[in-house]
Assembly symmetry: C2
Homo-oligomer: 357 residues x 2
């Protein structure tokens, strides 16, 4: 006999990309980690940390970090909530605003955690298929509204395609949605500045949008577990004061995260390096006859015209190169490949050339 709730017993958990042990020579391009180390000042902060502080509870609301994030986004402290990775924010949006049985909307495909979190809350999920260019259909918001969707999760840039929607498109969706929009900008730091993308202007225009940001990718801090949400106070406050685990962020995480924002120019330099590699290897993939769309994220979705993506995944894996294959109808001829450092990308490309197909 299980004691789990029926919806928990019936569901599968979230499956992340494989995290192999740190084998020497391993090339890990499967979970979109930044190939470059975090800002050197972070190492100084860790080395100078006063260990004795650990016996005391940390600042409950991470206000120092919130102030830095607020300054960065030209909002107030009350518009920011700091969370244990972006994932905690995704969960809090559901816990706080969506009753069990109410519908949560997502695109198909998308980050699979959204649906896992919905099932934990016992919420049905409406999946709206993306077009061939990985953009939502014209009637996306109407689809959500007609179904009575309470909360829509939308990634921009989209994963796993890397496609960026322009801010006009996002703003129109936000404007048209009856329910809340969680705009997941986990990969936004890697967008080409020439695209002139700016996040929606929440305070002025939208009372139904929370934007997710994370330090995991852009700031090379996946191992830190630090994300944050930006939105109007009426949306941020109940998550901050009621549904969040009290003391969700430890002392060291808060100090490291603040340091990362203070030394953002380091991170911005890694974004440029990743963009340059993105241009370079997109061109090489195409010259090899493989399909690659225009990604604005730190990964590429590569199509194998012969449909042997899963074989290539295994072939690469046997050579110590980890990329991501998804068992999903729209993705079965594709691999999602994180953009690594140049020498990693070169080894990847060489191995794909060797792939007998």
């Amino acid at each position: 006999m299980t004691r789990e709730r029926d919806n928990i017993a019936a569901m599968d958990g979230y499956v992340s990309g494989e995290q192999p042990d740190n084998i020497p020579g391993l090339i890990k391009l499967n979970t979109n980690e930044n190939p470059y180390p975090p800002a050197p000042e972070i190492n100084n902060v860790i080395k100078a940390f006063d260990t004795e502080k650990l016996r005391r509870y940390p600042p409950a609301n991470a206000n120092e970090f919130r102030d830095l994030a607020a300054e960065l986004h030209a909002v107030n402290r009350g518009n920011i909530i700091a969370t244990r990775g972006g994932d905690e924010l995704l969960r809090l949006m559901i816990t706080t605003f969506v009753n069990p049985g109410e519908i949560i909307g997502v695109t198909d495909p998308t980050y699979s955690l959204y649906s896992v979190l919905a099932r934990i809350q016992n919420c049905p999920v409406l999946q709206v298929p993306l077009g061939a260019d990985w953009t939502p259909p014209e009637e996306f918001a109407k689809n959500m509204n007609d179904a009575g969707v309470k909360l829509t999760f939308l990634g921009n840039p989209h994963a796993p395609s890397g496609v960026l929607l322009d801010q006009e498109v996002i703003s129109r969706i936000a404007n048209d949605l009856d329910g809340l929009l969680l705009l997941d900008e986990a990969y936004i730091d890697f967008v080409d500045p020439a695209r002139q993308y700016r996040s929606p202007s929440l305070l002025d225009d939208f009372d139904n949008v929370v934007i997710l940001r994370t330090l995991s990718k852009g700031y090379s801090l996946a191992g830190l577990r630090l994300g944050y949400g930006i939105g109007r106070e009426q949306l941020i406050r109940p998550m901050l004061e009621k549904t969040r685990d009290s003391y969700n962020l430890d002392w060291l995480s808060q100090e490291i995260a603040s340091t990362a924002l203070r030394h953002r120019t380091h991170a911005a330099h890694t974004w440029k390096l990743v963009r340059d590699e993105r241009v370079r290897i997109t061109g090489i993939f195409r010259s090899m006859g493989l399909g690659v769309g225009d990604s604005e994220a730190n990964f590429l979705l590569v199509t194998f015209p012969d449909g042997n993506a899963e074989n290539c995944y295994e072939f690469l894996r046997n050579r110590g190169i980890f990329v991501r294959y998804f068992h999903h109808k729209a993705l079965e001829d594709k691999l999602r490949i994180s953009i690594g450092a140049p020498h990693e990308n070169d080894r990847l490309l060489g191995s794909i050339r060797d792939f007998p197909g």
Copy 2:
């Protein structure tokens, strides 16, 4: 218009003890922190930490820590879940095992977070009053069963009284309960070994018990946010694989927590120091005419016979000494005072002597 769920809009959040800025000379005896620093080896681990690791996701399940905890408790890795403070475990027990609308059982008084978490899940709470000696009534389990309680939270030692139930009492409650028992042993490390308390033997005897442990108090690591649960695999696995946020513990937390368990003799020494102070100041409080029960935790519940506990709280606060006052009928003539280092306790006692009453 609020967009919060009705149950969230109607509830108040958890209110923790005040966390004042670290004013020099401040004596902080209000949130049961350990007065002694964590093991010195933890400082070495922080200083030697390879910052570049932070760009990678941390081990998802904290298996190194789980193995150490399993060894300590003579169970298997599958019987342990590592969580972000004990609070995350409390939340996961509800998320995983209690449907909205099902009843959660607690003692009255108890740790107020239990009821806050129940309200977030929209669960009614059955509060069973404790006796004058702060122990549950004989018919405690029957009360829970008659109400159809799905999950009971029971602290041992109890907070805020510090009273320890013998293992026979706990075992009988566990045996009699139809539902699950979360046995919150957050303060168990401070129990006098002469009491010969041993946690229930879960693997052999009980399939409905999860024990909560934390490094916050016993290991001087409140600022780390690291707790864990012990139970049968059928209870631990769904929390580990389904309802927990993936990557709930960052790299540094995992390494520090493992170090704390490896160098447990340091922590055990602090437990003895706290016990010695507990005996000493319990005697002094009694000689001053104040009521103090036998606490097995790192705090005392002190009764002011004249009923002026709240005035004393303010008086102490004005002198930079923080203790805890609860607005609760059974506690309105009492203060909960964490046991500090001897010089802190002496200053506390001196100030209470100065209190005009």
